[in-house]
Assembly symmetry: C2
Homo-oligomer: 373 residues x 2
């Protein structure tokens, strides 16, 4: 497609507490994520990228819907669905957790926010894990409530995030550790704020409770942010590849294991002994995965957008992987991509061919995140 199609918005593609502000700030494209609008472009992807890496942006990531798991069996349920051990998880911690099906395939890669042993928020990537968690709980008769609370994350991302947030809630926020959370007062109301977010530029996520408070919090950020050149932004298709941030549904699906996604460090023996899909994961841990996610640098002129996976082939023409995201990186001065590469070809420095939409390109395998190219 030369020009992207239009999106028909409806109640079903849910608006967020921030949608009116996002519109006022000139959003030009959306995707739909967890049945909700997620902005994808304001000015251009490249202009948004440069701004993100220099200043601070406010991101409507309300589509990171929460599943609240609450009750005496909350921890048991959350531990049942992930191979990552929650044993040492503290009440102010966020854990990035692979969630897998009974064959060990990636269902989602949410951030679990622990509030207490009997209360978690699971902050989702794009699949309805509400029904998975709830179905398991009902099927097993667990003593737990599972529901979607009125909680909408608002991202504050970019190198000036600390300065902006400190101006609003005080310097104490500078001490908040990575993937830790605490309550902070914004506009007279306490919100859970975590040092997290889907960029490598630093920043926070404000877990807005109460749709009716969305515009007030947004406005406070923009008023205080004026001197930091704050803008409305969104997860950026270039920056996320540079940073090696995985996108569930793009870079990985249920067909992929956590090991293939480079998430083996989140597969713990004690957890694999009890979680769904643990048998399959333990078996794969012994043999190692057959393919793994890698960074790839691609030769030639600016790559087009990678909508459907681009095959990766070796010198014999055999398919040995696929690229699932690609972009021209202005800072690296190169085309960079992300994709799965088969075992015999995944060593850094291996040269392969990528069959992009507009023709073949030479590709070199490298690490994620990109360090230099």
């Amino acid at each position: 497609m030369s020009q992207p199609p239009f999106l028909s918005v409806s109640r079903r593609t849910r608006s967020t507490p921030f949608t009116r502000r996002v519109t006022e700030n000139g959003v030009s494209a959306y995707t739909v994520y967890n049945h909700m609008l997620l902005p994808t472009v304001f000015e251009t992807v490249e202009a948004d990228y440069h701004h993100l890496k220099k200043h601070v942006q406010v991101w409507d990531v309300a589509c990171e819907r929460q599943v609240e798991v609450r009750g005496p069996d909350a921890r048991e349920l959350v531990q049942w669905v992930t191979p990552r051990s929650l044993r040492k998880m503290q009440d102010d911690q966020c854990y990035y957790i692979p969630m897998v099906n009974d064959k060990g395939g990636m269902l989602n890669d949410p951030v679990a926010v622990k509030i207490s042993d009997d209360r978690f928020w699971v902050s989702l990537a794009d699949s309805d894990m509400l029904y998975w968690l709830k179905g398991l709980a009902i099927g097993k008769n667990l003593n737990v409530d599972v529901f979607e609370p009125d909680v909408s994350p608002l991202g504050v991302q970019g190198p000036k995030s600390d300065d902006l947030m400190a101006d609003i809630v005080g310097d104490c926020i500078r001490d908040l550790g990575f993937f830790r959370h605490r309550q902070y007062n914004i506009g007279g109301k306490d919100y859970l704020v975590a040092r997290s977010g889907w960029s490598k530029q630093g920043g926070f996520e404000i877990y807005l409770e109460g749709t009716e408070n969305g515009e007030q919090v947004w406005d406070i950020l923009f008023e205080a942010g004026e001197k930091y050149n704050v803008r409305a932004g969104c997860p950026n298709g270039i920056e996320r590849i540079e940073g090696g941030l995985l996108s569930h549904g793009n870079d990985m699906t249920e067909e992929n294991s956590p090991f293939e996604c480079g998430l083996g460090k989140y597969c713990h023996n004690e957890a694999m002994n009890i979680c769904i899909g643990g048998d399959a994961l333990r078996a794969e841990k012994k043999t190692g995965p057959k393919q793994i996610i890698r960074g790839l640098t691609l030769s030639g002129a600016r790559v087009p957008s990678c909508v459907n996976p681009w095959p990766i082939t070796n010198e014999k023409g055999d398919r040995v992987g696929q690229v699932t995201g690609a972009a021209w990186s202005p800072d690296f001065g190169a085309n960079i991509g992300i994709g799965m590469v088969d075992k015999n070809h995944w060593d850094y420095g291996t040269n392969l061919t990528v069959e992009a939409t507009d023709g073949n390109r030479l590709a070199t395998v490298g690490p994620l995140p990109f360090e230099s190219v």
Copy 2:
């Protein structure tokens, strides 16, 4: 929004077996439905409407993803999730089934396709019931496989559907009953075809098995359809309101019971005794629902698109309902809408006020589907 935003397509907003053909046929807008592209407009909504009601259209409704439930406990699992009794369901039948949560709220309103007692396809509206069914099965340790097969429905809708399909598979298809299915040979391969579809113009849904066969079947329909003025089409926002076809996520959500949605006839005592949410449904059946879905005719000039619900108020200004879909109907020569109306105001002929995006309108309550206005 005066002009709709653009949609950023990606692997995550899955393409279908027919996307290339849909693009070639001039799709101009999409929505995302079950993580998949669903066309919403080709020429204009109104031009598409007139064509649909006169001729025959081919609809890419691959986004009606299937959950296959297979194994000795298949029927037990499907019956567990719906208050509609499956006792009399035959192996060539499709049932429209409300699926409800533990409080009786509408999770989805799929069409269940029974192939045999140990094999069902559940053809979904827009929520990941795959995880609900699979979570319940794992939690309860049922002997059943639950998965998404490579099956993509292709709609053939409009008054000339029978003629078109008869030319392709033979006159025997004229005898296929409503919501019945059979295997028909198209292009050398047998496919399940049902007399069903999300319009009131008559037609079929071909359950395409095998992504690789999509374009062949599409092309066969277009070749044979030339003399019937076949076009690419899609669910139509005007026709579906005229016909009273409900849209889950728009007209109803988990907050609504089947009784509120006018689906009380699909809540059977024997099934409510065993299904999830049955207690809540039995209690509501005794008292009756507090609100119900209705047709509404709206005064004034052409209504704008209804993205967020429009409040319905009575003469005192109290909120007594909401409109969740609205359109100018050329054939009725009136603005028609669909929405929930509270008990004391739901009688046909009641006059109320609808607070549309562009101002208040007089509204009159009536039946669904619309008969005349």
